[in-house]
């Protein structure tokens, strides 16, 4: 084997390792793609049922969202689930729980950036392996809104990266609860998943929500992880604007994460011998 070139930074090396780690589970990836596709098809069929009922009443769009747009949003959602780790991110909490975090703290790297790189490395794999296939199947089975404007695809791609970065900052923050909770943190991760699923528009497009709930959901970081990127693709949200929103969320969550981390480290007691 030829020697691999030295990584530019340790963070890039971590991201690359994380990508490769995920890519070894081929069958798991296939099973996940199947599940995302089935859920996408079921949700799309339900929404089409809703839009058929709307058409009968003569008002086919809801808050500017038509049937094709809604189905497109469903498949963008299924494609993004793993990219933003919608169903939880156990890697860091497991290390805190096992006491292995002590080793991470001794490394000459910034812990927060280290885990961010780790997260984004997996996300990159999930975009390619878990994101694109269900979306392609969705585009074959249903009539999706696929813009001819290349620039819109570029902004959409950028917003997917932005979503992964915001999600990495969010899950880092949630994972830090493991420093305080003795025992099982799965409850806290699941609580986070619940709110994320609802506010990100992955259960139902936010346009369908009553306006007060819609406004609340739109002002969470979760809408910037899924609903807004999908809207960039549909052309109902500005790409550059979304990148600014995502940057603001990433910076805000990062700073809160650092503050919480420094508190955690002041009281840290490492489990295990």
């Amino acid at each position: 084997m030829p020697p691999s070139p030295p990584p530019i930074t340790p963070y890039l090396a971590v991201a690359r390792q994380s990508f490769r780690r995920q890519s070894t589970y081929r069958l798991a990836t296939a099973a996940g793609v199947f599940t995302n596709t089935v859920f996408g098809i079921v949700l799309a069929a339900v929404l089409l049922g809703l839009y058929r009922a709307r058409e009968n009443s003569g008002r086919p769009t809801i808050d500017g969202l038509g049937a094709h747009g809604a189905v497109t949003l469903v498949f963008v959602g299924q494609a993004m689930l793993m990219v933003v780790a919608m169903f939880g991110w156990r890697d860091l909490t497991d290390r805190v729980r096992a006491g292995e975090i002590a080793m991470d703290l001794q490394r000459p790297v910034d812990v927060s950036t280290y885990w961010g790189a780790y997260f984004v490395g997996s996300s990159t794999y999930f975009v390619l392996a878990r994101g694109i296939p269900p979306f392609v199947v969705g585009a074959i089975v249903f009539d999706l809104v696929l813009p001819h404007d290349a620039l819109r695809w570029v902004w959409f791609a950028c917003s997917v990266v932005g979503a992964a970065v915001v999600a990495s900052r969010w899950w880092f923050l949630v994972s830090l609860s493991a420093f305080w909770v003795v025992g099982d943190v799965r409850g806290f991760l699941q609580l986070s998943t619940t709110v994320m699923l609802f506010c990100s528009g992955s259960l139902l497009p936010l346009q369908l929500f009553p306006s007060a709930i819609e406004t609340a959901a739109r002002s969470t970081p979760f809408a910037a992880m899924l609903q807004f990127p999908a809207q960039v693709l549909l052309g109902t949200w500005s790409g550059p604007m979304l990148l600014l929103v995502q940057l603001a969320w990433a910076v805000a969550l990062h700073l809160v994460g650092l503050a919480v981390l420094s508190r955690a480290l002041r009281k840290v007691v490492i489990d295990g011998g």
Binding site: L191, T194, L204
Partner: protein
């Protein structure tokens, strides 16, 4: 032989209650975690319910079924999924046992493997979904304008039991696949959680090819929909005969038979990791 089977079953029940009891006691040691988990489970299902309410804020009916009728489907589907998850949720850990070879430990003990496996990760907190579904079901029955006949109620109760058992069978069959490929647990979710999502809506709104899959292959599209149609007297655009509606809860029997068969074939197929 029959006596032996009865003895075996009693032994299994005893083993299950002893082991599951120990799990519950250990679970209750971590109070804040238990509270967060139960709360989040209830919150998740509450948000599911909110999704349906939001859905109906946009339309008065879907496929001719009103909000109350769809909420009834939702409550029974959630109750069935909740029951299956409560009773059999530990089976999701089967892939880990197969991968690491720890199933050996269960195979050498003098009690049924399935009973031990189900007790292994038994968790009281999974009751959250059942509690929430029962509340929704009670409210829906109390507020929806339905003429409850004797046979209608009977079919409704049989339908709920049939649906619970069918979802147990789905958990058993899909998780047993991990005897052959332990990295594909997510495959099971498409049938169990996917099946429950299908069951929340009247099956006739789905395109016919999807309907065939969720009727013929995974009966989730039958066991909640048809008994509810009979009990509520709901719209029947596919023209399903009354006797099919009444007998539909019996679908759980072949489902359980298939689930049991896949499990037994899987156990026979199992070869330890050799460590």
């Amino acid at each position: 032989m029959a006596e032996q089977t009865a003895l075996g079953a009693r032994n299994d029940v005893r083993a299950f209650s002893l082991l599951a009891g120990a799990r519950v006691r250990s679970e209750l040691q971590y109070r804040s975690s238990f509270a967060a988990f139960t709360l989040s489970q209830t919150a998740i299902t509450f948000l599911d319910c909110a999704v349906i309410l939001i859905f109906f804020s946009n339309v008065p009916a879907i496929g001719g079924w009103s909000r109350g009728e769809v909420l009834y489907l939702y409550a029974v589907a959630t109750l069935s999924l909740g029951f299956a998850d409560f009773a059999m949720g530990s089976i999701e850990y089967l892939p880990q046992h197969v991968r690491t070879g720890t199933l050996d430990r269960l195979l050498v003990r003098p009690a049924g493997v399935l009973a031990q496996l189900l007790a292994e990760e038994f968790a009281l907190r999974r009751i959250g979904r059942i509690v929430q579904a029962t509340i929704v079901l009670t409210v829906v029955i109390a507020t929806t304008d339905v003429e409850w006949t004797f046979t209608g109620s009977l079919v409704a109760v049989a339908g709920a039991i049939g649906a619970m058992l069918t979802f147990c069978a789905l958990f058993l069959a899909t998780s047993s696949i991990s005897f052959w490929s332990p990295n594909t647990q997510e495959f099971a979710n498409a049938f169990t959680y996917g099946g429950a999502t299908v069951a929340e809506f009247p099956t006739h709104i789905f395109p016919s090819w999807l309907r065939v899959f969720f009727i013929g292959v995974v009966p989730a599209g039958v066991v909640v929909y048809l008994p509810a149609m009979y009990a509520l007297g709901a719209d029947n655009p596919l023209g399903i005969p009354t006797w099919v509606q009444v007998l539909s809860p019996l679908v759980c029997l072949p489902a359980l038979a298939v689930g049991g068969l896949v499990w037994r074939l899987g156990v026979r197929h199992y070869e330890s990791t050799g460590s």
